[in-house]
C-alpha cells in the first residue's frame, strides 16, 4: 500500500510518500504505526506520541483501531490547523 505523510510527520520521516508492505500480522492503523516506528529513527520520532497522530485510509479520516485490509492509501499527519 501507499503511505503518505504530511506536515511534521513528513519532515520527521524525511519523505512525503512511499510504498509499504507490512506483514499480515499488521491489521489495524495502530499496528501499522507500531510497525513503522520500528523502521528507523525518523519514524520513531514521528510516531513518538502515537495518540496525537491522525490517520486516513483512502482519504477518509479513521481511528487507530480501523482495519487496514483493502486500503490502497494510508495517510499519517498531525492534528489539522486549517481555516
Amino acid at each position: 500500500m501507499k503511505a503518505v505523510y504530511f506536515a511534521w510527520v513528513r519532515e520527521r520521516i524525511g519523505k512525503a510518500e512511499e510504498e509499504v508492505d507490512p506483514p499480515a500480522s499488521v491489521a489495524t492503523v495502530a499496528d501499522l504505526i507500531g510497525w513503522l516506528r520500528a523502521r528507523g529513527e525518523g519514524y520513531a520520532y514521528a510516531f513518538e506520541k502515537a495518540t496525537v497522530i491522525r490517520a486516513a485510509l483512502d482519504r477518509s479520516h479513521v481511528k487507530h483501531d480501523a482495519k487496514i485490509a483493502g486500503a490502497r492509501e494510508v495517510a499519517f499527519f498531525p492534528p489539522m490547523t486549517g481555516g
Partner: protein
C-alpha cells in the same frame, strides 16, 4: 449548488457570493466568512499552508453535505488556499445561502469549525527574522468550537 475549491490563488468573496445567488429568487440570506492571515506581533513573514490533495476537497465536500443535512441550505461555497500567504491576505472563504438567516449563519459557522479541525490543512509560520519555522499548534478552543456540532469522526 455546492462549490469546493482548494487553490493557491486568491479569491473574490463578493463574486463568489454573487455566483451562489445568481438567478435565484428564493434566497433570503447569504452569509460570507473570510479568514485572513493574521500577524499578532509584527514578526510573521508568511503562513505556509500544506494540504492533502484530493482528501482536502473531499473532506470539505463532505462537510457541506453534512451542513445540508442539518439546515435547509440552497447553496454553499468553500474555498481554501494553500502555499505561502502573507499577513493581511485571505486564506479561506465560506459562503452559505438559505431562505432565512438562521440556517445560513449556523451552517457557515459549522463549516468553519470543520475547516479548522477536520479538513487536512496544516499551517507553518515563517518569521521575518528567519529564526524559526514552527508548525502552528492546534487550538483547544477550535476543538471545543467544533465539538458543538458533534461531527462524525470521519
Amino acid at each position: 449548488m455546492r462549490i469546493v475549491r482548494v487553490q493557491a490563488e486568491d479569491f473574490d468573496a463578493a463574486a463568489e457570493a454573487r455566483a451562489l445567488t445568481a438567478g435565484r429568487m428564493d434566497i433570503g440570506a447569504v452569509v460570507s466568512f473570510v479568514g485572513l492571515c493574521r500577524d499578532d506581533g509584527g514578526r510573521l513573514a508568511a503562513l505556509e499552508i500544506e494540504h492533502y490533495p484530493g482528501m482536502a476537497e473531499a473532506a470539505i465536500a463532505l462537510a457541506i453535505d453534512e451542513a445540508r443535512a442539518r439546515w435547509p441550505l440552497i447553496g454553499a461555497t468553500a474555498i481554501h488556499r494553500f502555499g505561502a500567504i502573507a499577513p493581511g491576505e485571505q486564506i479561506v472563504l465560506v459562503v452559505t445561502a438559505s431562505a432565512h438567516r438562521g440556517a445560513a449563519f449556523a451552517a457557515a459557522e459549522m463549516l468553519m469549525d470543520y475547516l479548522k479541525t477536520r479538513a487536512p490543512f496544516w499551517k507553518r509560520a515563517r518569521l521575518i527574522d528567519g529564526s524559526s519555522e514552527n508548525w502552528v499548534e492546534p487550538k483547544g478552543a477550535d476543538d471545543e468550537s467544533a465539538a458543538r456540532w458533534d461531527l462524525a469522526s470521519r
